[in-house]
């Protein structure tokens, strides 16, 4: 048997097996119960469906919290990465300790600590109340991860770039901000996209600390609809929330991939 013929047979075999498994699952499934629990009519249609709150409050807040946490995390991460690469040992040590500490903790624990612990411990509630405290927690954790990404990006910029800038008489600061960082950011766009998508999903962790009615993000609202409304006692609202998460994340990753291709064409 020819090699190509054999390969074609294998491909067909795999395809057939996949179809068989899927078909078998579809036939065996109890569609009535699935429909009632995962896509309950009371939650997905009609003027009192879950969509209204999920989209106008939940999705909007999820995007808003992600944007805040990402912007704050990135700014903080930049400071941390520059500290880690600083010639001053104390700064390096502090940044390293910070990164190791927050990378090693579950974000959930940091959020709970900031949300409930901090107001008790130092009698201070950050702006935005409990959600604000949760966002600070997300920023602190995200910064630890992103600073490592940025550091790798900065170190990936060839040494000759710094040398060229310095030999033109440029100082350390303008060399960093005008020559090194613009190139480093370009290098880290793919991993930073990753961090951004992770952060979108991490905002769901804020659901454990509660919030005002209008401050709820997607998961919080979905959880609320498990006890109230037309789809109570089912997971319909969570399926809806899941779809909305995908509506946010997939176009975003595609957009960044497109932008990345465009930029590579221009400068490479």
């Amino acid at each position: 048997m020819k090699r190509t013929t054999r390969r074609r047979l294998v491909v067909w075999g795999v395809n057939l097996a996949v179809v068989a498994v899927v078909l078998g699952f579809l036939l065996a499934a109890d569609w009535k119960t699935i429909h009632a629990n995962f896509w309950a009519p009371g939650g997905v249609s009609g003027p009192d469906s879950n969509w209204g709150d999920l989209i106008t409050i939940g999705a909007v807040n999820t995007v808003k919290y992600t944007a805040i946490a990402f912007a704050g995390g990135l700014a903080f991460a930049l400071v941390l990465s520059l500290m880690r690469l600083s010639p001053i040992a104390t700064l390096r040590w502090i940044a390293t300790a910070y990164v190791e500490f927050f990378r090693g903790l579950p974000a959930l624990i940091v959020i709970i600590f900031m949300g409930f612990g901090l107001p008790i411990a130092i009698q201070w509630t950050p702006p935005g109340g409990v959600v604000g405290a949760g966002l600070i927690a997300l920023i602190m954790v995200a910064a630890a991860y992103m600073s490592e990404t940025l550091r790798a990006g900065i170190q990936a910029v060839p040494k000759g770039q710094t040398e060229a800038a310095r030999s033109l008489g440029m100082g350390g600061t303008s060399t960093t901000f005008r020559v090194v960082l613009p190139q480093a950011f370009r290098i880290v766009i793919p991993p930073l996209t990753n961090e951004f998508v992770l952060l979108i999903k991490d905002t769901a962790l804020l659901s454990v600390i509660g919030s005002t009615f209008d401050g709820r993000e997607l998961t919080t609202i979905a959880r609320d609809f498990q006890t109230t409304g037309g789809s109570a006692q089912t997971v319909t609202s969570l399926v809806q929330a899941a779809l909305l998460y995908l509506v946010i994340t997939i176009p975003l990753t595609q957009l960044v991939a497109w932008q990345e291709r465009r930029q590579r064409k221009a400068t490479r």
């Binding site: 770039q161 060229a164 030999s167 033109l168 440029m170 100082g171 400068t267 490479r268």
Partner: protein
């Protein structure tokens, strides 16, 4: 008396990387307007010597004076001195995220404090000088190696430097592109630019150089007029090296 202050004066320069002593007591001088070529086998320390002149490498000991200013003195404003020393690298080191024009204006604006219009004007003049006026909007990645190196020279010239350092400027180029870069360097020399050139281009050294320095094993083995050193080397090591490259 009209004592000329050397453009570059290096005395007793030592440089070690860890336990590896790369420069073992170098005395080296370049007078204003002079073109000094430095040749030698790889590992001879010639690039390290050049990089010590604008302190991209930190001298271990010894004296490096640029126009009489001690660049190893912590009181010296190193950025200011560097802005008067143009440097051209083997690997060009253009800023890949900036257009050709921005490559030329960045340091003019941040270091020289020139306005946008003036910086662009100076940049265009220097692009013209290296024959690349039409490439100002291009990004470095879209240029050939020879074009990139000429842009790098124009970038250095845009700072109106008093002298230029060339670190094997044609070593990374395809052979057919070397001529364009050497042509620009010859023009510069003819205009009276002070130049220190680490190179393997013996033809350039003979034709353009005022002085040729041969280095080997971290010391200056022999120096003199390029024609004499190249055709009648006195030292055994110079003879051995030249017999291999000529």
């Amino acid at each position: 008396m009209n004592a000329v202050v050397p453009a570059i004066a290096v005395r007793g320069l030592h440089k070690s990387f860890g336990h590896n002593e790369v420069l073992k007591g170098i005395d080296f001088f370049v007078d204003p307007g002079q073109v000094v070529c430095v040749i030698g086998p790889s590992g001879s320390g010639k690039s390290t010597l050049l990089r010590c002149v604008n302190r991209l490498e930190e001298p271990t000991s010894g004296e490096v004076l640029v126009e009489g200013i001690d660049i190893t003195d912590p009181e010296t404003d190193l950025d200011e001195v560097r802005s008067r020393i143009g440097m051209v690298f083997q690997q060009f080191n253009l800023f890949p995220h900036l257009s050709v024009l921005k490559n030329l204006t960045l340091a003019q604006r941040t270091v020289r404090g020139r306005g946008k219009e003036e910086a662009i004007e100076v940049a265009r003049r220097n692009l013209e000088r290296v024959g690349l006026a039409e490439k100002e909007a291009a990004y470095p990645a879209h240029l050939s190696g020879g074009q990139q190196q000429r842009v790098a020279i124009a970038r250095a010239l845009s700072m109106d430097p008093d002298m230029m350092l060339f670190d094997e400027p044609t070593s990374a180029l395809d052979p057919e592109l070397v001529g364009d870069v050497l042509g620009v360097m010859k023009d510069l020399a003819a205009e009276g630019m002070t130049m220190m050139v680490v190179t393997h281009e013996m033809g350039f050294a003979r034709e353009v150089g005022d002085k040729l320095v041969f280095m080997d094993g971290g010391v200056v083995v022999e120096e003199g007029l390029p024609g004499e050193v190249l055709s009648n080397p006195q030292h055994e090591r110079t003879q051995a090296f030249l017999s291999k490259v000529l």
